[in-house]
Amino acid sequence: MAERRILLEHLDVPNAHTLDVWRAHGGYASLDSLFAKEPAAWVDEVKASGLCGRGGAGFPTGMKWSFLAKGTGKPTYLVVNCDESEPGTCHDRQLVSRLPHLLVEGIICTCWAIDAHHAFIYIRGEYAYGAERLEAAIAEANAAGLLGQTINGREFPLRITVHRGAGAYICGEETALLSSLEGDKGQPRQKPPFPAVAGLYAAPTIVNNVQTICSIPYIVKHGAAWFAGINLEPESKSPGPRIVSVSGHVQRPGVYEIENGTPFRELIYDICGGMLPGRDLKAVIPGGSSMPMLPKDVILNTTTSFESIRAAGSQPGSGAIIVMDDSTSIPHAIWRIAKFYAHESCGKCTPCREGNPWTVKILGRIIAGQGDPRDLAILDDIAETMEKNSFCPLGIAAAWALQGGLKHFRHEFEALCQG
């Protein structure tokens, strides 16, 4: 089993970030097909493709587009989420730094389909180089008549604004991102209304992840049936190529593109070259640090389809696959993850703002060997409170990460809580 590169096909081509090279490799060919169909037909095509959002929640993209409010008298906006801050995730950075024209092409296709004339790319502040590459690509596209008042000579005004973040994980949550983009603190908003009804500047807005938008030109070029066929599990409803970031204790960590349904066993032992010498697999977090970890015996019987990961008790999340070997202390790993959520809690709601620092404090004493036998029950309680009562997914994520460790490796925590 090997990679199947589609979005990443030209990743290693020298100067693929420039317009000339991108075009020489088929770049912007999707525009030939794009204007041959009415926008509504593309929404249906994307629905039929089965493309699900690649950012974390996995919502069907075409269905999201169809929720856009009509006749509001306000403009429609596209916002591309490149806040990529979920620990373990680093592939959108490769897309924007090395294939920025693919994202521009995807934005053009999407804006035609949803009738938007201003798109924003919200890119995390730490990706300074990626932002520069995007700005350069947009400038090239403008100069070449691919953006502006017309696209390839067709009347369709479109501009793209790159908006740099400044270090806040919460801004990956779509309503917090919109608050940030509007110039406020990046705190989440109540849903409903969903962004498709009242998003940026209270106008109908589609928020999609970078990889989601980069998939659109391939659906436009090759059709929904082709995309839906990239699927090793015919019954799976999450078809298509999927880019994953593999990190941790494998021989070859990396950014890989795989077919939906590729088994984790093959991803870890074939594509990533197996575990580091002399070590054995212990656990895998299959979708970024927010998702519950799964132990070896479970993950090796799981595939990368959304259905398989969910059936195993976790989530596909952002596509960040964090592999841990038998040298890893699970309580220590969970402590480090909890420390992240405590740092990133935006402070808006009490369960998350208070629950996370308390989790870190308790886990800190546990990994120092000073845990109390009652500590695990307290952690269970905090996790449940955060999961059920947090305002946005950040608190829920923190709970899931903690619960995954406590569920599958409780004995490791207990051994450190002998009082």
């Binding site: 403009p75 373990g88 680093c90 730094s97 400044a166 994980y169 970031s245 640090s289 964090i322």
Partner: protein, 170 residues
């Protein structure tokens, strides 16, 4: 005080957003101000507020929410060592401790000459190329102690360090 060039850059940045939505330009304006001044003082909040017709207290609220905005002077070179889960599994804390030892300061501190600040950082998006750090938000990845020493040697000698990503990417 912001220079005329920075003020002009902020006003141009404002045009990226729809008419009447100049508040959206506050984050970019703060990036521009920090690039020029190194950090953001209350005086900057007032100046940015004036340029964008925003209350200084709003500018301050935004600036203090995000970690990349420096609210007090930082070193000329800021080294952010990612210590989140993927980097930790590949030895990030050993890297951070090595830097602390070589510079004789702890995480969160700046060398006495004001040249280098070191920080323990959350995930920077270099998980498959861990361990990793950023110098002034430019990536250095697949780190070893030897690579870190080479970076520190250059910084201590007053030389700029180039991000390998930006040198080798075709």
């Amino acid at each position: 005080m912001l220079s005329d060039a920075a003020r002009a850059e902020i006003l141009a940045h404002r045009e990226r957003y729809p008419e009447g939505r100049q508040k959206s330009a506050v984050m970019g304006a703060l990036h521009i101000a920090q690039a020029e001044l190194g950090w953001l003082s209350p005086e900057v909040f007032r100046e940015v507020g004036e340029l964008l017709s925003l209350a200084p207290v709003h500018v301050a609220a935004v600036a203090t929410f995000y970690t990349m905005y420096e609210k007090e002077p930082a070193g000329q070179h800021v080294i952010d060592v990612c210590c989140n889960i993927s980097c930790m599994l590949r030895g990030a804390y050993e890297i951070l401790e090595h830097i602390e030892q070589r510079l004789g300061i702890k995480r969160g501190e700046t060398t006495a000459d004001g040249q280098i600040t070191i920080r323990e950082q959350e995930c920077i998006g270099s998980c498959s190329t861990a361990p990793a750090l950023q110098v002034n938000y430019r990536f250095h990845e697949n780190l070893t102690i030897e690579k870190v020493d080479a970076i520190l040697d250059q910084l201590l000698a007053g030389q700029p360090v180039a991000s390998p990503e930006e040198v080798t990417h075709g």
